[in-house]
Each structure stands twice: as structure tokens, then as C-alpha cells.
């Protein structure tokens, strides 16, 4: 276990540093990156567990990308792994923004920079849509009506009705809890 830790700790640091340095477009893009390395390549945890971590990272305060890297680090190598992953994922933006804050004007007025970013925007959109499809499948596979319906419901509530996330997250949890309790009651009455 100990030698394993020493071998994996630098890997954990490197991979989170790498993911963080190349993740344009916000927190959610980290999820397919983590999936690629932790689930598909190294098989450190399952797709199901990744979904669980993503849900917790999202339900906690703070940046989703940082929270998710902390959780994946914790799942891989415990507390030390969590701390190392956190530092690794914060360092790239910290260093980069520190430099940009010094030379901001040159950066923001560059036409090449804005063309690259415009191109990446389309890539980010494709990446997130692709990931959403896979995540929906994981949920639908459970074949539970309430879980299946909650996905389009929260989507509409957030996109169309602009309901605050702080209400949506606990609301969905409570709804599932209530549904579970009702089913228990019904089962008890039948038997």
C-alpha cells in the first residue's frame, strides 16, 4: 500500500494539474476528463461512482471542478490524495491568472487568442452534450420512473424557469426521499 501511494501520488498530482490546465469552459468539462483517466484508463472507480461524486461536488459549495478533483483524489488515495489533487487543480489557474493580471491588455486584444477561443467554444459544447447523453443513459438504466423524470424536470426548471440551483438540489433529494417513503408505506399495506 505504501509503495503504491508513493507511485500514485505524483501521478495524481500530474493528472489533475494537466486536466486543470486544459479545461476551458468551466467546471463540467472536468467530468469527461476525469472519466477518461480515472474510469476508462486506470479503472480506479466506476462510472456509477463518478456520477455520485459529480452529484456531491455539485451539491457542495465552491467550484465543481475543484470539489470533483478533491473527491476523486480522496477516492484514489485518501486524505493525502485529496489535498494533493486540490493543490494540483488550483495551481494552473492561479499561475496563469497571476501572469495575465500583469499583462491583461495585450492578452484580451489579441485577435488570434479570440479566434482560438471561439473555435474551442464549439468543442466544449460538443464535449458536454456527449457527456450528458452518457450520464442520462446511466440514470435511465436504473429504470426508476422518478429518477428518469427528474432529469428533464431539473433541466426545464433551470433552463426555462430559471429556478435557483440552491432550491433544485435539495428539492430533488427530498422528492426522491418522499417517493421512497411512500413506496415503503404502500408495500407495508399490501403485505
Amino acid at each position: 500500500m505504501k509503495s503504491n501511494t508513493f507511485k500514485n501520488l505524483p501521478w495524481l498530482f500530474g493528472i489533475h494539474f494537466f486536466i486543470s490546465a486544459f479545461t476551458f469552459g468551466g467546471g463540467y468539462v472536468v467530468i469527461p476528463m476525469i472519466r477518461r483517466y480515472f474510469v476508462e484508463k486506470k479503472q480506479l472507480f466506476s462510472e456509477e461512482e463518478l456520477l455520485e461524486m459529480a452529484a456531491i461536488a455539485q451539491s457542495s459549495p465552491g467550484a465543481i471542478a475543484v470539489n470533483l478533483s478533491v473527491l476523486s483524489g480522496y477516492r484514489t488515495l485518501g486524505r493525502l490524495g485529496a489535498a494533493v489533487s486540490c493543490i494540483a487543480s488550483v495551481l494552473p489557474p492561479l499561475l496563469l491568472i497571476s501572469m495575465i493580471s500583469i499583462g491583461y491588455d495585450a492578452f484580451s486584444s489579441s485577435r488570434v487568442v479570440s479566434a482560438i477561443l471561439k473555435g474551442m467554444e464549439a468543442g466544449v459544447a460538443a464535449l458536454i452534450v456527449d457527456m450528458t447523453i452518457d450520464m442520462c443513459r446511466t440514470i435511465f438504466r436504473e429504470r426508476r420512473l422518478i429518477l428518469t423524470l427528474l432529469v428533464p424536470a431539473t433541466f426545464l426548471a433551470s433552463s426555462v424557469f430559471h429556478i435557483n440551483v440552491c432550491l433544485l438540489i435539495p428539492g430533488s433529494a427530498l422528492l426522491c426521499l418522499a417517493e421512497c417513503k411512500i413506496r415503503e408505506q404502500v408495500r407495508r399495506r399490501v403485505s
Binding site: 465552491g62 467550484a63 489557474p93 491568472i97 477561443l117 467554444e121 429518477l147 433551470s158 433544485l168 422528492l175
Partner: protein
């Protein structure tokens, strides 16, 4: 100096603690602390930092804390503000994760976790819609719609490459950036 570092730390501690859902949900919160309360940045500078955030990797809250910290107290300020910004998420997400793992057998944990998962996927889908519509937006009209056909084409190609060949996300981003140079 120490006083400035402490007030940076305290401000960003509040921002970090109250920002659930991440990303653009944090903007009003940061604005209130950084512009209204402390006048650390002007509104124009704050708009600039949002633009930088879109152009660079890293979460908006972390980018803003670094930017503001650098402006107010140099690198030490950047570290203090960033630390304040992420520590709540670090502790609370770890606590929740361990709590859910430990009480997996308890009857009410599973439905709560399932609810969180479904909501999370729904919210990701809504974020996908926001990003896609931002990417497809154009100032000029094609077929009566403000649609950027180049972006739609690049999106379709990327999507196909992801579904069909499972192309590496970072390779995809690099290719899209390269395509951007030639197309725009």
C-alpha cells in the same frame, strides 16, 4: 498588509461558502463582496475578469480570487483569496462524500443520493444548452436566424468524432482551437 490579507481571506471565504452550483451563479456574490463592499475592482475590471475566465482554464471563482488577490496584495494576496475561496468546498464535499459512504446502508441515504444524481444530470444538461447557444450565437443572420453556421459545423464534427471515435477531449480542444484560427 496582514490586515489586507485577512480581509481578502474573509471575503473569499464567504464567496466560497455561499456559492452552490458553481460557475455563473457566483457572479452576483463576487460582485457584492469585491465591488460593492470593498471597492477592490471597478465594474469594468470585473467584466474583464469574467471574459478572461472564459478564455482561460479554471473555475470563475478561482480566477477572480487570484486576479483580485494579485491586484490588492500581490502573490500572497492571490494565494490567500484562492485558499478562502476553495476551502469550504473542499471540506464540505469531503464530509458529504464520507457521510454518504458510511451510511450507505441507512434507508434514507440511497433515495437522497439518487435524487442528487438525477438533479445533477439535469443541471449539466441545462449547462450544455447554455454553452451551445453561446457558441452558436452570431451577429449576422443566416436564414433569418442569428446562427453561426461555422460553429454549428465545428460542433457537429466534434460531436461525431466523440461519439464515433471517442477522440481524446484535450486533443479535441486543441483541434478546435486550431480550426478557430483558420475559420474566424
Amino acid at each position: 498588509m496582514t490586515g489586507r490579507l485577512l480581509s481578502l481571506l474573509y471575503s473569499f471565504l464567504q464567496i466560497g461558502f455561499f456559492s452552490i452550483g458553481g460557475g455563473y451563479a457566483t457572479i452576483p456574490l463576487i460582485r457584492q463582496q469585491v465591488i460593492d463592499l470593498h471597492a477592490w475592482l471597478t465594474l469594468q475590471e470585473f467584466t474583464d475578469i469574467i471574459t478572461i475566465s472564459q478564455m482561460t482554464p479554471g473555475p470563475l471563482a478561482v480566477n477572480t480570487s487570484t486576479f483580485v488577490g494579485m491586484r490588492i496584495a500581490g502573490l500572497g494576496g492571490a494565494v490567500a483569496a484562492t485558499f478562502g475561496c476553495i476551502i469550504s468546498g473542499y471540506l464540505i464535499s469531503l464530509f458529504l462524500y464520507r457521510f454518504f459512504k458510511k451510511h450507505r446502508q441507512t434507508s434514507w441515504i440511497q433515495p437522497v443520493l439518487s435524487g442528487l444524481k438525477s438533479a445533477s444530470v439535469g443541471l449539466i444538461a441545462s449547462c450544455a444548452l447554455t454553452i451551445a447557444s453561446l457558441a452558436f450565437q452570431s451577429d449576422t443572420k443566416t436564414l433569418g436566424l442569428p446562427l453561426n453556421l461555422t460553429a454549428v459545423g465545428l460542433f457537429s464534427l466534434s460531436f461525431f468524432a466523440l461519439r464515433k471515435w471517442k477522440i481524446h477531449p484535450i486533443l479535441l480542444m486543441a483541434l478546435c482551437g486550431l480550426a478557430g484560427i483558420f475559420l474566424y
